[in-house]
């Protein structure tokens, strides 16, 4: 929420603020679920906002697989309750203009996202 206030004070368009807030939120949720603790760093420049989230959690063994919509590490009973829809990473990819995930299983994960302030021209896959 504090991120959102600052971005609004900077006069960034509502759409940019939304994308930053949603990607930060999804990244934060991932840390809470898998790693319990992590650090978020935000760097705002006139042209873009960078969000970096780092944790010392279990890491992601197969990043490409994790990025698939619907892929979830949640066990069936959790999924039945409605959690673990597997949309976190795909949501982040949709919101951010650049997304980089570096992970070492057993050591931790770092997610870097860049949200460009100018309207994007090309559509993401």
């Amino acid at each position: 929420m504090q991120l959102k206030v600052v971005l609004q004070q900077l006069g960034l368009p509502g759409e940019v603020v939304r994308r930053a807030a949603v990607s930060a939120y999804e990244a934060e949720l991932n840390v809470i679920i898998h790693a319990r603790r992590g650090t978020m760093r935000v760097c705002v420049r006139p042209e873009w906002t960078d969000i970096e989230v780092e944790d010392e959690g279990p890491g992601i063994t197969d990043v490409a697989q994790a990025m698939q919509e619907g892929y979830s590490t949640a066990p069936p009973e959790i999924r039945q309750m409605g959690f673990g829809a597997g949309m976190g990473l795909p949501n982040m990819r949709r919101c951010a203009d650049h997304l980089e995930i570096v992970s070492q299983p057993g050591l931790g994960t770092t997610v870097r996202m860049r949200i460009c302030h100018q309207r994007r021209e090309a559509e993401h896959g």
Binding site: K4, L10, G11, L12, R18, R45, P46
Partner: protein
């Protein structure tokens, strides 16, 4: 920037003692205490009326048109908001309340609840369509609409795009008056009897709505009560609205009329803000329609009502069971309004580079400030003072704590200096 933005909230100067209560509770931090008086900064005010409600000395009020203005028109129509019915116990029939309005000088009455039912029908139709934003957010409360414009511009597309019930009622009433009296429209005065400063502002701002002016319910309450109590014969005006429309005055009334499932009702401006944060994050997946009202309890809790909101709520709810059946009048077409524009008032500077520098300065300033949010400086919080300082509207020493620290530091310096006289003049050295 164009014309000055009109706000209906006003200060009664003699009563204001600069106590900071309104400033500290304003959801938009739009108030500053200057020279012992509360001043509202227009761009940030959303007319929610919290300050009117909270002022301990009743120094806040709204501009309201006076009944005397009826004299300017040949034919005057009253548009009572359904909150009016709630001001009186259910033993008093609505027909008599409306009749009392005729005795006040109005020539005709058109219930806003009629317009509300028309808008409900339009919303029901909208919810059936495909591709409708989810959730839809009601635009009935102008304070909420303004909150969205300022704090949640990405949700502007979720607002219900229809005009307000009072605008629909005004159109009906005006057309009917012109048809029956043969007068030209400019001789017809259409007056909204409202519980709400936000609606009052909305009426004043939109000349095209066909509403001449707005009168606070609290202004007419006394006169209407006297007429009802006097037992004098009052004309009985048949009730034309249904409970569907009258229920809008209560929190949940509008929403329950619009949809049976996926409804969320939230009232109180702080709670609305909280819910909208979640909508922006996309967490409220099961919700199709949000009824959001700035006033706790709904419009019956508006600052311009006369009766306590819990009493009003109970009095209106009790009427539901015996509400007269709606006469079949057919629905009136409701106009679609364009999406409101965002208002970037939170923006520190148009130039993002300057804005970035200002944010940094603000953070540094915030570390210096004590973080008590006491309001002594005239700003509602330390964060607000930091922003005011960075924008050149206040200075560091406005903060009493910083000022005293400075005085102490200066005193220490003076002591040091006082201890050092040149040896040629310092008589104390000789004595040692």
């Amino acid at each position: 920037m164009g014309e000055k933005y009109f706000h209906s909230v006003r200060l009664v100067e003699e009563r204001c003692r600069g106590c900071v209560v309104c400033a500290r509770h304003c959801p938009m931090e739009a108030i500053r205490i200057r020279a012992g008086k509360a001043r509202i900064f227009e761009e940030r005010c959303i007319d929610c009326g919290e300050c009117i409600r909270l002022c301990p000395v009743k120094a806040k009020t709204t501009v309201t048109d006076a009944l005397g203005r009826l004299g300017e028109f040949t034919y005057n129509i009253a548009l009572p908001a359904p909150s009016l019915y709630a001001q009186f116990p259910p033993s008093i029939a609505v027909e008599r309340i409306l009749g009392a309005l005729l005795k006040l000088g109005f020539d005709a009455v058109c219930e806003v609840a009629l317009g509300a039912a028309d808008v409900t029908a339009a919303v029901q139709g909208l919810l059936q369509k495909k591709g409708v934003p989810r959730p839809l957010i009601s635009s009935a409360c102008p304070a909420v609409v303004r909150l969205v414009q300022v704090k949640f511009p990405d949700l502007l597309g979720n607002l219900v795009p229809f005009e307000a019930p009072v605008a629909v009622a005004a159109r009906r009433a005006r057309q009917q008056a012109v048809a029956t009296t043969g007068l030209s429209s400019r001789h017809v005065g259409v007056w909204f009897l409202t519980p709400c400063p936000a609606k009052m502002t909305a009426v004043k701002q939109d000349a095209s709505s066909g509403i001449t002016g707005a009168i606070a319910i609290s202004q007419v309450y006394g006169d209407v009560l006297r007429l009802l109590r006097d037992g004098e014969a009052l004309p009985r005006v048949p009730v034309q609205s249904s409970w569907l429309g009258a229920g809008w005055a209560l929190s949940g009334g509008e929403g329950q009329a619009a949809t049976e499932s996926g409804l969320m009702v939230v009232d109180g401006i702080q709670r609305v803000s909280e819910v909208l944060e979640q909508v922006a994050l996309g967490t409220l997946t099961g919700v199709r329609y949000i009824e959001a009202l700035a006033c706790a309890g709904g419009c019956v809790g508006g600052p311009l009502t006369a009766v306590n909101r819990f009493v009003a709520e109970e009095q209106l709810r009790a009427r539901a069971a015996c509400w007269p059946q709606e006469a079949d009048r057919g629905r009136v077409q409701v106009e679609v309004k364009p999406v409101p524009l965002p208002k970037p008032v939170l923006r520190l500077d148009k130039d993002i580079r300057k804005a970035l520098r200002k944010v940094e300065s603000m953070e540094r300033m915030l570390h210096l400030l004590p973080g008590l949010d006491c309001g002594s400086c005239g700003s509602p919080s330390c964060r607000a003072l930091a922003e005011d300082i960075v924008q050149g509207q206040a200075s560091e020493t406005d903060c009493v704590f910083l000022l005293r620290q400075r005085v102490r530091d200066l005193a220490d310096e003076m002591k040091e200096l006082a201890a050092k006289l040149p040896p040629s003049l310092d008589k104390r050295i000789e004595k040692e």
